[in-house]
Amino acid sequence: MELKGRYGDFGGFYVPEVLMPALEEIEQAFLKYTKDEKFLKELDDLYKYYAGRPTTLYHAKRFSAYVGFDVYLKREDLLHGGAHKINNTLGQGLLAKYMGKKKLIAETGAGQHGLATAMIGALLGMETKIFMGSTDVVRQSVNVHKMRLLGSEVVPVSDGTGTLKDAINEALRYWTATVDDTFYLFGTAAGPHPFPMIVRYFQSPIGVEAREQCINQIGRLPDIVTACVGGGSNAIGIFSGFINDKNVRLVGVEGGGKGINTKEHCATLCVGKVGVLHGSKSYLLQDSDGQISETECISAGLDYPGVGPEHSHLKDIGRAEYVNVNDEQVLDVFGILTRMEGILPALESSHSLAWVLTQKGKLPASTAVVVNLSGRGDKDIGIVEEHRPLKM
């Protein structure tokens, strides 16, 4: 391995020996092709013409008036597939193609990463296999159907609570036996090096664009940038654009589920302890022995007991702050934004909106907040209906 893949003491590559050659190969290819003009041009074109980049920065005026300060939405929900996940799958998918790989595997929670992988598999003519927890297969069934239509095989994983962690375990096991010809297209800025570095790189256009748009549209940098944090890819994507702007507050919002005083949440950075899972050292939800906790959260995409190592580092050095909101707050704001702006936010993204709502009356009117609207909520309407049925 050429690089150490560390963020402070976090990160690294804690994997069985059998996976080391594959990780080294991906690291080398990444370092090579991200300096290759042909690769970069092809990726740029895909971002622009296939995915729909740049996405807009939208001043949500009615929502702003409601909370009492200015809220701008970075509209990743407008991307092809409906979430930021495609930024990463286009990048890694193209990398896999340049490496000569013919098969892609991926894990998925909400199904958004699985869907984005399935689209890229179809686009690049690669066989794709998606591992998905059995609980998630049920609660995100629309995405399962889409992945299958796109030609992917969806493998339900019934271990544990049948959520993202279990899907990653199974994808890693499968990869162990197929490393020779299969590329593991990791979906978030977690896992072993080089994935946190690669995913950050391919998600960084969010931050680069948002910063430039702030300067052009607001005439200054925002005061606060906020994003939801599952594994941490959309958050690191937008944070990366502002990390060096020391006056911009970075706020990551985790899934508080039924409350962090219960067992049913996934607020890893808020209440976790440092440990090693899925190849990297980072904060984790675990018991005193180090057995990993089962998480629960309304939003499948955040339902994970780990988090990307760079977020752990940003927390420890105090550059970013991490908070959580509970399921009810998330459902409230989902309804509010939908009715006020005509935008259905994904339940994941609704977490950062819900935090913004908690600041109502607390922040001065001159405050400018950028929310990374990581995805659209179409996939979640069944869950919302279940919790907050509409009266006919």
């Binding site: 391995m1 690294g12 590559f13 804690y14 994997v15 069985p16 020996e17 059998v18 080391m20 050659p21 271990d159 544990g160 962690k165 375990n169 890693l172 096991r173 162990t176 036996a177 197929t178 490393v179 020779d180 302890k273 440990g275 090693v276 899972l277 899925h278 190849g279 984790l284 675990q286 005193s288 022995d289 180090g290 057995q291 990993i292």
Partner: protein, 263 residues
């Protein structure tokens, strides 16, 4: 306390090394089955402390981990069980486990406590040779041997790093993939054993996928110093959860049949 050198040095055949998940299906039964294995002719024991997310393990050992954890196994109780095994017989014990459990226990304290209980080495499934220095000082201070994995896709350069840091034995993974019984032994194992034997003087043991006495014999003929059998034996436990007598009888019988095949 018996060392790996004592055992491998005195054997004129390949060592029989069964693997068990500590506490599978519960503390007392697990201790009984391990004693049965010793009586049936195990030369060395490979024991796993159960982990919630065993990414290097196939379904059989995953299920054993769950059984053990559900029955209340903890890292501290695992240490206690090992102590009881050592009271029964002085047999070398290698642990095979995941890093987070060691990390939470405290690396130095883990090695010290488990060395005291009678463990000879700790192989951390998710700690590659690149990060071995996170545990080596603690292992050395506790007087333990080191064991690392080599798999069929490990480069010569990495094999060199691994052999340099190994004092116990090389754990050679017979197949690309996770633990679990396979129907045949991969053709590539023989040449890999030969290559490793030419590069190191420590014993070379082979595991993953070995499920029949014939496989063990084949691998021994290829020059392995030890044969590690896990999923096949753990499956016997799984299949006889309702009948502990039969469980012990079948584990004993299987181990004797492997010992016989090894000559």
């Amino acid at each position: 306390m018996k060392s790996y050198k004592d055992v491998f040095g005195s054997l004129s055949r390949a060592a029989m090394i069964p693997f068990f998940v500590i506490g599978d299906p519960d503390f007392d039964t697990s201790l009984d089955v391990i004693k049965t294995a010793i009586d049936a002719g195990a030369d060395v024991l490979e024991l796993g402390i159960p982990f919630s997310d065993p990414i290097a393990d196939g379904p059989t050992i995953q299920k054993a981990d769950i059984r053990s954890l559900k029955a209340g196994m903890t890292v501290r109780k695992a240490c206690e069980l090992i102590g009881k095994v050592k009271q029964y017989r002085d047999i070398p014990i290698g642990l095979l486990m995941y890093y987070n459990l060691i990390y939470q226990y405290g690396i130095e304290k883990f090695f010290a406590d488990f060395a005291k209980a009678g463990v000879n080495s700790v192989l951390v499934a998710d700690l590659s040779i690149n990060d071995a220095d996170e545990i080596l000082p603690a292992a050395k201070a506790a007087g333990m041997d080191t064991v690392f994995m080599v798999s069929p896709n490990t480069s010569d350069e990495r094999i060199k790093l691994i052999t340099e840091k190994t004092t116990g034995f090389i754990y050679t993974v017979a197949v690309l993939g996770v633990t679990g019984s396979r129907n045949s032994v991969s053709r590539s194992v023989g040449p890999l054993i030969t290559k490793l034997k030419s590069k190191t003087t420590v014993p070379v043991c082979v595991g993953f996928g070995i499920s029949k006495p014939e496989h063990a014999a084949e691998i021994a003929k290829d020059g392995a110093d030890g044969v590690i059998i896990g999923s096949r034996i753990v499956k016997i436990i799984e299949d006889n959860l309702g009948d502990k007598k039969k469980m012990n009888a079948e584990v004993g019988e299987f181990i004797r049949s492997v010992r016989k095949a090894l000559g």
